[in-house]
């Protein structure tokens, strides 16, 4: 069993869990992901590795409560165990390029952080841009500040004093002549699409996106996570999750991401309702 050793609630919708999983911790690298199941009838939930401690044998995940399964996951406390925890899956992020910009949006910042840190630890010059809906949803502020040479934090509503999405500062930097070897973006598909368009406009040599499509097994078995890259079908679980963003068909990926929207919404309402019933008892 995989024990939860630390829980940190960032805000009502985002939570960090540190989980005992020595075999995973031993091998995990930035950009890879894990799959977990909360209980016997649970869904397989893919989540990108948010950090790892090889000595302690723990892996950190940060998740957003978006449906019934993540809602259930959030009900667990320190000392509770996950039913299943498998990984690391997927290919790690390639730490090439001397001067990089790591862009994270929303929960994507949780995944962007270990990548920024890995580049920074290797002595590369790192600019980090993170975007949130408002200042109450800002996470990992100190961590990003320490893992980058320059850190820009944006909010959609401007509540932190920096209004705008992540493309605004990126475009400003590039238009002012900043040269990056590589831009890595992680976040909602729509955000990655616009970051990619911006990079293309300013001829950034390399733009990488980290895809997080719907998945089941995570080992290349089901093809559910397929996407079109350079006109070819690729599996995010084994060929990715990082892809050359210039070649990714983002519109198709967005469409595929909505496959179970209605089901998820219903299941989420039911899960909340069931919890309410339990509490009333």
């Amino acid at each position: 069993m995989y024990k939860i050793v630390r829980k940190h609630v960032f805000n009502p919708t985002e939570t960090l869990l540190e989980i005992e999983a020595p075999a995973v911790a031993k091998k995990a690298q930035p950009g890879q992901f894990i799959i977990l199941r909360v209980d016997e009838m649970g869904e397989r939930i893919p989540l990108t590795v948010g950090g790892y401690d090889r000595e302690k044998g723990t892996v950190t995940i940060i998740f957003q409560i978006v449906g019934a399964s993540t809602f259930k996951l959030n009900q667990l406390e320190v000392g509770d165990c996950l039913h299943d925890f498998v990984g690391p899956l997927g290919r790690p992020t390639e730490l090439t390029g001397e001067k990089v910009c790591v862009v994270g949006g929303g929960l994507g910042t949780a995944i962007a952080y270990p990548i920024a840190k890995a580049f920074h630890d290797e002595g590369k010059k790192v600019t980090a841009i993170a975007g949130f809906r408002n200042k109450d949803l800002i996470i990992l502020h100190d961590e990003f500040s320490q893992a980058s040479d320059k850190y820009i934090e944006m909010t959609d509503d401007g509540s932190n004093g920096n209004k705008g999405n992540v493309v605004v500062p990126l475009e400003k930097l590039l238009s002012e002549g900043e040269k990056f070897d590589k831009v890595i973006c992680i976040g909602p598909v729509i955000m990655m699409k616009f970051v990619t368009q911006c990079c293309k406009k300013y001829n950034v040599p390399e733009c990488v996106c980290s895809m997080n499509p719907i998945m089941i097994d995570g080992t290349g078995m089901c093809g559910c996570c397929r996407l079109t890259v350079g006109g070819k079908t690729k599996f995010a679980c084994v060929d990715g999750p990082d892809f050359n963003a210039y070649e990714v068909d983002f519109d198709e990926a967005m469409q595929r991401g909505t496959m179970y929207k209605a089901f998820e919404k219903k299941a989420y309402e039911e899960a909340k309702c069931n919890l309410f019933k339990k509490e009333v008892k």
Partner: protein
């Protein structure tokens, strides 16, 4: 010819008691309900006990068929089970999913004369295994350890068989499974109504009682590599039975629309994740008009799952004719009885979606005709240039799978052929790497449970010979 009783000279097999097609098309309970003891004894007496045993030669693991059937006829069911067990590790599974009509039953003397059916060997095997599972009260004795460690990668039919054979010899066996549940294709692929999962669980539990360790959630190649298993974990031999899990797609426009599944995804959601149950958290689309592309057992399984998930119309779209359908005859018949609509000599060329929802809405197919035989010996389908459209809201590709490349990519010096199948030397299953053996679909490409089981057996023997220094 047996002396104890007169043979039953009935021309036909005892029919298999089955759920009514109209009822079973809407539930996941097992379709075939199994023989009663009386039926089994009556059927067993149809076996003539021919001295040349053509059935045995055509069984991939050479079960002593006439002898086990003889014991059934005498009512000695446990003895019959012992005879089967000498050659087969998974009789309850094989009795259900083996293609007997192209193996043992194909050469049965009773089936030679026109109008006469072979002995129902498969049904008898299943009866014996089920009887044993329900009535055996003895304890499984854990063999004395010989101290040698062997790792098995994958808990499908080949891995379970190899593990069982080695454990019985006293080896310290650990099975590594990538998914959260052991059983491989037996749990994620073959549906409940054809192979109840409790039967697979029983087989796995039996291995655990023999001392086999089963480690789930272990993706070998990622969590631990083959080289680490040998050097750091000190396994003396490894058997790779990782199957053929990578789905193939048609490569036609529209294939990434929503509502288009690989059979692996559709079946995994349904069988492994139990999406058909109310209490499962995993979603699946409950479509109205489902087209399954392909003609193998997997296509039949997917089509029949779709019916059970509430589809109003399920098509099998296959580019050749009924004669070339690679699925077991029984599966095709069951699918037809349940109301699956076979659109034969039709080849999908494009899928169209609803522009607003992105959900697949139409499949364009080309009418085909059969030309000259191709490399597989089957007549090649040729396009006629005549097209039509079928309305669908779900498409399932069941056109085959190839071995997962993960182990190949992470194991230096492991030779594979251009199809990605691991290259092995003869029956032993030894790969291009010392101490590393392989078998099942990982070596042959997608095939049958019984062939995989046979490969697991041969590899177990070869591993034993290597480690015992024979």
């Amino acid at each position: 010819m047996w002396k104890e009783y007169k043979p039953n000279m009935a021309l036909k097999k005892n029919p298999m008691p089955s759920q009514d097609p109209k009822v079973r098309a809407h539930n996941f309970k097992e379709v075939a309900e199994g023989y009663t003891a009386e039926m089994a004894i009556d059927e067993a007496k149809r076996c003539l006990g021919c001295p040349n045993k053509p059935c045995v030669a055509h069984c991939p693991v050479n079960i002593d068929i006439p002898n086990f059937i003889h014991e059934v006829a005498l009512g000695n069911f446990e003895k019959a089970y012992e005879i089967i067990s000498e050659s087969s590790s998974l009789p309850a599974v094989c009795g259900r999913v083996c293609p007997q009509e192209t193996q043992c039953e194909m050469k049965c003397t009773r089936g030679i004369r026109p109008g006469s059916e072979p002995v129902a060997i498969g049904r008898l095997e299943r009866f014996v295994a089920d009887w044993h599972n329900a009535n055996f009260k003895g304890e499984i004795v854990r063999p004395k350890s010989n101290g040698h460690k062997v790792a098995i990668i994958g808990s499908g039919p080949s891995g379970l068989t190899c593990a069982g054979d080695l454990a019985k010899k006293g080896y310290d066996v650990t099975v590594f499974e990538a998914l959260h549940l052991a059983g491989g294709v037996l749990v994620y692929g073959i549906p409940e109504f054809r192979l109840p999962k409790s039967i697979v669980q029983k087989e796995v539990d039996g291995l655990k009682q023999l001392g086999v360790k089963v480690e789930t959630n272990m993706v070998i190649g990622r969590v631990i590599t083959i080289d680490e298993l040998l050097k750091e974990y000190h396994f003396e031999a490894i058997f790779i039975g990782s199957g053929a899990g990578l789905p193939r797609f048609l490569g036609i426009p529209g294939e990434n629309l929503k509502g288009v599944y690989s059979a692996n995804e559709y079946l995994t959601r349904t069988n492994l994740m139990k999406a058909y149950r109310e209490d499962s958290d995993t979603p699946i689309e409950h479509a109205k008009n489902v087209a399954v592309v392909g003609g193998g057992n997997v296509a039949m399984d997917a089509a029949r799952c779709a019916l059970r998930l509430g589809a109003e119309h399920v098509y099998i779209v296959y580019r050749r004719s009924l004669e070339e359908l690679p699925a077991r005859k029984e599966e095709v018949e069951h699918a037809m009885e349940e109301g699956v609509d076979f659109q034969l000599l039709n080849n999908p060329v494009e899928l169209f979606g609803d522009p607003e929802t992105g959900l697949v809405s139409k499949m364009k197919v080309e009418k085909m005709e059969l030309g000259e035989p191709d490399a597989s010996g089957r007549r090649r389908p040729v396009g006629t240039g005549e097209y039509r459209e079928i309305e669908v809201d779900c498409v399932i590709d069941a056109i085959g799978t190839t071995p997962n490349p993960l182990i190949k990519h992470t194991t230096e010096g492991l030779e594979t052929n251009p199809h990605g199948c691991i290259v092995t030397k003869g029956e032993s299953g030894l790969t291009s790497r010392e101490h590393v053996y392989a078998g099942g679909d990982a070596v042959t490409g997608a095939a049958t449970v019984i062939l995989a089981m046979g490969a697991g057996k041969h590899a177990a023997k070869a591993i034993d010979e290597e480690l015992m220094g024979k």
